[in-house]
Symmetry: C2
Subunit: 415 residues, 2 copies
């Protein structure tokens, strides 16, 4: 996620316009808090029909039809490509959504942080691949406790010392740990591809506490490259040395049953890599302004393989300084990612969350309606992962009504 | 906080160098989680002497000596100016720190969101001024429940309709609500200064459920203006119409006992406004890279009236792609605010939290030491408010040892 997309204004405008049909904003709103909603939806009937426009704001909402459709669509696609999904929970941090993905056919769930893995496993998600190495003795021990709880727990390793430490901790815990070698794409995490990576895999294979399962090759930088052709070319060029590591390990008779990487931007490219097994797709469940802007395989500047399902409903606090509106969703509710949020149904709106508490919307052309103080509006989030991490709960919405509350199980688990 | 400071590289380097003396980074670290630390510090002796370098990372730490000194220094300063503090809890979101401020002499605590006010009052902080209007019927009723719990609760109002709604809700709750009129500085929130503001104050004074207490005039945009002279000039120019509103209300015999605004950037300017009563200072308790860069009254490019007390301790995950280091503190731990984090003791370091999970540090000149994988480093945060909002707990540190855990009481309360 390190590459910021160049913003394509035209793309966002089309997207905002395309989603406009879904918008209905009543004048009088109630403003129910999470506690009030919870007591309503936990009653005899889960579908109590509260309108999303009556939620206290800022409210993080996920459209369930779109969420389910995105998950199903991804599974159909990877099946066609002959690979699998191992969706990354860093995006949704939600046990409920992880379970939906597993039910749909995912082979496992990835986590970036040990705290995420612990939180999800405590909620019954046990097919977890920790894609980041755990370095401190305490973290290594905690990871081995997860392995003890679940035979399906897989841990990434990217240094020789860490492999030895992990093996010792596994033996101490009385388990044999399943391990994948994290091979760096770019310079962020992982061991560089080449002889070092091969040697590390061989070491893992020989250590008494570890079982080699294969390798990771996640290309975070490629996900947001604008334009499919360049995204595909760069992805395939970047992963070439990893494919060689894979071949070397395979020829040496080592276990290569996992060759995992890729994301929402390259899910339709990774299968071209020989031996590649599964994509660590995350954002496809929600989409966001960043992914909408990368462009699709069909040449459309808007990436429309998946539909934006995640929005923030906000309230207009001030309309007395046109062409500006002030809302109650600032940087603490929307992050400072670019491109900024898109206002649903308002192609001419520019959203700025530069203030912590307040959002400011300016209109290049006339808004679709006259916004009064207290009115609600809805925004597609700039970048889904860090926005979700700001909320304790997502409201699961169907046809603009609250159907269920989805806890953000691993919210704030950055450790 | 809407103005992004122009970054003064020289300023940050000096700051990093100045704080270098405090740094001691051992090679072998343990990585205790919040739960493990809590069980240790809740024992018979609160000062168990855990090193901050042994915390699981990313860890949000506040140096208690500096925190206490910042709070004391602010109180001494405003006393000299003949005004008071009403510190803004949007910065720290912590009941413990609010109580420290009240004990030191603050006349009250401000909150930006109703959820913050509820969370703090539930922890015994009852002298609260809600600086944002509550618009929905549910929020208005909840605010009046707070007023029912505490005679010291004050609510901001900025429209006639909202004043009438609030009065009705106050009567319904059986209370008379203390109200301040929020008069806009700039275009964000509040009613424009002038006749409209005066009329609104008069209306509040006549409504049966409300008691007028005065006015708010918070100049968020002025706080981060670089250079004291310009900051002072702009602050005084911006508030001129509000001073006239104040005079008009006073002459009309209306209650003007509260004339509140200002922040950490203008705490030493606001007393020049006739009738001004208190500053809503927030960031002074922690400081951050943004405030360090605004320059002091003494002409120093580093604003040094208060000392940076808030840091994030992170772990080096990768050192194999020099001159880069990868840490475990990305945008979900540090936000995307600019200027980016300053690495303590490393004047040549540039920190980039452009990735959600990982931070990347590059060195313009040689680092002070060779960083190994697993080593810790410490960073001054870019902008304290949104960083604090990412964590459930701050570690209270004295002389590099954990003394107490400070819950972020209102973390995530953006509603």
């Amino acid at each position: 996620m390190s590459t910021r997309p160049t913003s394509s204004r035209r793309a966002f405008l089309s997207v905002s316009a395309a989603t406009a049909a879904h918008v209905w904003i009543p004048g009088s709103v109630k403003g129910y808090s999470p506690r009030e909603v919870a007591s309503a939806v936990s009653g005899a009937s889960a579908n109590v029909g509260l309108s999303k426009w009556d939620l206290d704001t800022p409210a993080l909402c996920v459209d369930l039809d779109r969420l389910e459709s995105n998950i199903a669509r991804m599974q159909v696609a990877v099946k066609r490509f002959g690979i699998a999904t191992r969706p990354h929970a860093k995006t949704h941090k939600s046990a409920d959504i992880a379970k939906m993905q597993l039910t749909a056919g995912a082979v496992g769930i990835c986590t970036a942080k040990l705290g995420e893995a612990e939180a999800l496993m405590a909620q019954g998600v046990d097919r977890i691949c920790m894609t980041t190495g755990n370095l401190s003795p305490a973290k290594i021990r905690r990871a081995m406790q997860l392995r003890k709880q679940s035979a399906h727990f897989i841990q990434a390793v990217d240094t020789e010392q860490n492999a030895r430490d992990l093996s010792a901790a596994a033996l101490e815990a009385g388990v044999t740990a399943d391990v994948v070698v994290d091979v760096a794409v770019g310079t962020r995490s992982g061991i560089a591809p080449g002889d070092g990576a091969v040697e590390l895999a061989k070491l893992v294979d020989t250590l008494p506490g570890l079982t080699l399962r294969g390798l990771l090759a996640y290309d975070g930088g490629a996900q947001h490259i604008n334009g499919f052709a360049e995204r595909e070319a760069r992805t395939l060029a970047n992963i070439e040395p990893h494919a060689q590591v894979f071949e070397t390990l395979k020829k040496a008779g080592l276990n290569t049953e996992v060759f995992s990487g890729g994301g929402t931007g390259t899910y339709n490219v990774q299968h071209l890599v020989p031996g590649f097994t599964d994509v660590q797709v995350g954002s496809y469940v929600f989409m966001d302004m960043q992914y909408l802007a990368i462009g699709g395989e069909d040449g459309n500047p808007v990436y429309s393989d998946f539909d934006p399902s995640l929005t923030v409903v906000a309230t207009v606090l001030n309309n007395r300084f046109p062409p500006r509106l002030t809302t109650d969703a600032g940087a603490k509710a929307m992050t400072l990612n670019v491109p900024r949020a898109g206002v649903v149904g308002e192609p001419g709106a520019e959203y700025n969350a530069g203030s912590d508490e307040f959002g400011v919307i300016t209109f290049a052309n006339e808004p679709s309606k006259t916004y009064r103080i207290g009115d609600r509006l809805e925004m597609i989030v700039p970048h889904c992962d860090p926005v979700v991490n700001l909320y304790d709960v997502m409201y699961g919405i169907r046809k603009d009504r609250v159907e269920r509350m989805i806890p953000v199980t691993a919210r704030g688990k950055s450790q």
